[in-house]
């Protein structure tokens, strides 16, 4: 048996068996932030399955990095878990509420903060307006269309969120005048104004240079840790996975291939896993 196979077997032994549990408590009695059981997902009848019976439980306050090669299904899983891509089959519970027809109810969605790879800021609006957009979906949300019509306390909270990501001084700057790293921080601030219990991020540092990416992840993870927010993010960067997540879940061909505490892994082991994937 060669080294690579032995290594894989060693990693596989660490896999967490996510057997189905009742309600919203994990096996150790902890509260679950998110859980899914036997989730299947395909985008078309011809395209085949993207997710193939994925089961996962994520505790409240946990931080999880979803890793895997391109096409492994990690982004699809992330989006399916919060109802952005309805699942074909399986059971998903988010913050104690089950997805109905693959969709998340609005009051649950309000407790989730989203950060995307390409920040998704409205380029011609100020950083402040973009952060206030985080309030969309809340009651009276038409006042979140633009900072000039937002209630004073929303503006204040948005400024505080910008301060938290180190960009209070850029509140008036238009999004198209910000650097890539600054734009991603504004996107994080937009998620923060929702005071989320769960933060979801799809490759938040993928479009940034290594140093900026590390800074953004540092900001992101430390804010989540301070507020006790559950954090789930996808990444291709092994260093980001190991440094900012307590737990690493790896997908291979739409299946969970590895589910392990990050403290038990080295970057080399993860790299090797990737090369075999």
């Amino acid at each position: 048996m060669n080294d690579a196979v032995m290594e894989r077997d060693r990693l596989d032994c660490r896999m967490v068996n996510t057997a189905k549990r009742d309600g919203d408590t994990g096996s150790m009695g902890e509260t679950l932030s998110l859980s899914c059981y036997d989730v299947f997902k395909s985008y078309s009848a011809k395209g085949g399955l993207v997710l193939h019976g994925v089961s996962l439980e994520i505790d409240e306050g946990d931080s999880v990095a979803l890793i895997g090669a391109n096409g492994s299904g990690k982004s699809t899983l992330l989006k399916s878990l919060v109802g952005l891509h309805p699942v074909d089959k399986g059971k998903v519970r988010v913050l104690g509420r089950e997805l109905q027809d693959g969709r998340l109810e609005q009051d649950v969605r309000r407790q989730i903060g989203f950060v995307f790879q390409n920040h998704g800021l409205v380029q011609r609006l100020s950083a402040l307006s973009n952060v206030i957009h985080g309030r969309l979906g809340f009651p009276g949300s038409w006042r979140a269309w633009h900072q000039s019509i937002a209630p004073e306390h929303w503006r204040q909270e948005a400024l505080e969120a910008l301060e938290a990501v180190g960009l209070g001084h850029r509140a008036a700057a238009r999004a198209d005048q910000l650097s890539g790293g600054q734009a991603q921080r504004v996107a994080i601030a937009r998620a923060l104004v929702r005071k989320p219990k769960l933060m979801i991020a799809d490759e938040p540092a993928a479009s940034l240079d290594p140093k900026t990416g590390m800074d953004v992840m540092e900001t992101f993870a430390s804010i989540a840790a301070r507020s006790g927010t559950t954090l789930i993010y996808t990444t291709h960067d092994m260093a980001h996975a190991l440094r900012f997540a307590k737990r690493i879940v790896a997908l291979k061909s739409g299946r969970v291939a590895l589910d392990v505490a990050s403290a038990n892994l080295t970057e080399q082991e993860l790299q090797r896993f990737f090369h075999e994937a």
Partner: protein, 274 residues
């Protein structure tokens, strides 16, 4: 000492584009058909050299009778009144037209509309408004609401919906999708996405299209009077009907100045939009 003589590269695998090998029978027939259409049109309706030669002295005579332009104060005062009405037709028609174009464009824009199954209906409506010429709309509205400025305003509204409805729709379809997806993930509804992401993103092109519509409306509103739909055009028609060519020349000069001023103004405004 022996030097290798550089040689041309040998045959390559690159295939050059084919040379023109002559038209096929179908292409040749089409070419003949199009040529015949153009030539017959020119022969039947284009001015012949003889007509140009005989028409030139008449044109000179008309221009002579137009000079000098009428400048009596009563007439000029009336022209100013008609000019204000023309502007009112253009401004009211463009404003209402733009206000109606925005929701119609939103409902018809692919990937943006909240009613994707019915978007074709709104697209069809915009096409209908656009394909009917403004003078035809003016005739229709004069027949339905009577002579005067109201018919003119309704004509400009219809014309603006046809123009702005299409441009607004295309701008919305081309708007950056990433912010829309990000806001949709937060639970924002379609209306919130329109006002928070799509309109801010497309604002320069919406303003540009709106300014073009205004410029177009000013030009259109000066001729709407020719079919009785109010404005300065009505005065021009009366001047020609009564052979008051000096008054007609004043009106033409005023129209020229106004349209030119509007073009300069909208061009300056467009440059400021960024």
């Amino acid at each position: 000492m022996r030097h290798d003589t550089p040689t041309l590269a040998g045959p390559t695998s690159i295939t050059p584009p084919a040379r023109f090998a002559g038209a096929s029978a179908l292409q040749f027939a089409l070419l003949i058909g199009v040529g015949a259409l153009v030539l017959s049109s020119i022969y039947q309706v284009a001015p012949s050299p003889e007509r140009l030669v005989t028409g030139a002295p008449r044109m000179a005579n008309l221009l002579g009778r137009m000079m000098p332009p009428a400048t009596d104060s009563t007439f000029l005062l009336r022209i100013v009144g008609q000019l204000i009405e023309t502007f009112q037709i253009a401004i009211a028609g463009t404003f209402i037209g733009i206000a109606l174009s925005l929701p119609i464009a939103w409902l018809s824009a692919r990937g943006v509309t909240p009613v994707p199954a019915f978007s074709f209906l709104f697209k069809g409506l915009v096409s209908f408004f656009r394909t009917v010429p403004d003078l035809v709309w003016a005739l229709v509205f004069v027949a339905t609401v009577g002579l005067g400025a109201v018919a003119g305003t309704m004509t400009i509204i219809a014309d603006t919906i046809g123009f702005c409805g299409r441009f607004f729709c295309e701008s919305m379809e081309d708007a950056d999708k990433k912010p829309q997806e990000a806001l949709s993930a937060t639970g924002a509804n379609r209306l919130a996405i329109l006002f928070s992401a799509i309109i801010p993103d497309t604002l320069p092109s919406l303003i540009n299209a709106g300014l073009f519509a205004l410029e177009k409306a000013v030009r259109a509103s000066v001729v709407l009077g020719l079919v009785g739909a109010g404005g300065i055009g009505q005065e021009l028609q009366v001047a020609f009907d009564l052979f008051q060519y000096q008054k007609a020349s004043t009106i033409i000069i005023v129209i020229f100045v106004v349209v030119l001023a509007m073009e300069v103004l909208t061009n300056a405004l467009r440059k400021r939009v960024g």
